[in-house]
Amino acid sequence: MTRSELIAKLAAKNPALYHRDIERLVSTILDEIGSALERGDRVELRGFGAFSVRHRKSRVGRNPRTGTSVQVFEKRVPFFKMGKGMRERLNR
């Protein structure tokens, strides 16, 4: 399912809403999660999962094609851990 298919499904279930409001609903949610992570905050959605930011230390990496070492700088990456409810739903 893509973003536009998600919007189409929600629109079909909420005929009273404008299509652009559904689009705004989905982008608001995703944007809000993105901004939280940008600030270094966590987002916890019970039953679904939690988003957080993990720090990766700098390391010496290698170009897999040429074998030359390159310095990989420390970075922050988005991380998602599934929630208990989701785990149960996937393993019934």
Binding site: M1, I29, L30, L37, D41, G47, G49, P78, F80, M82
Partner: protein, 96 residues
Amino acid sequence: MAKTLTRADLTESVYRNIGLSRNESSDLVESVLEEICTCLEAGEEVKLSSFGTFSVQSKRQRVGRNPKTGVEAVITPRRVLSFRPSHILKDRVDNA
């Protein structure tokens, strides 16, 4: 200090951005999550452009170990949810 956002915060921004009631906003946030869950439950991938991709991975049975007691135990086959952030999201988080 890192803060934790919850459904209530998402509901609040939806309420401010769309102009429906708080109750409706809350129901809508829930229905977005539910739609995503239902799709994943069916084993389908959910690709949200400029955000990331959720996919379900099947794990085979393996022998694990209780890290606390050191006792070996069989881990049954299971399905797990994985999330691959898009480059856009990665850049946002790293460059902040």
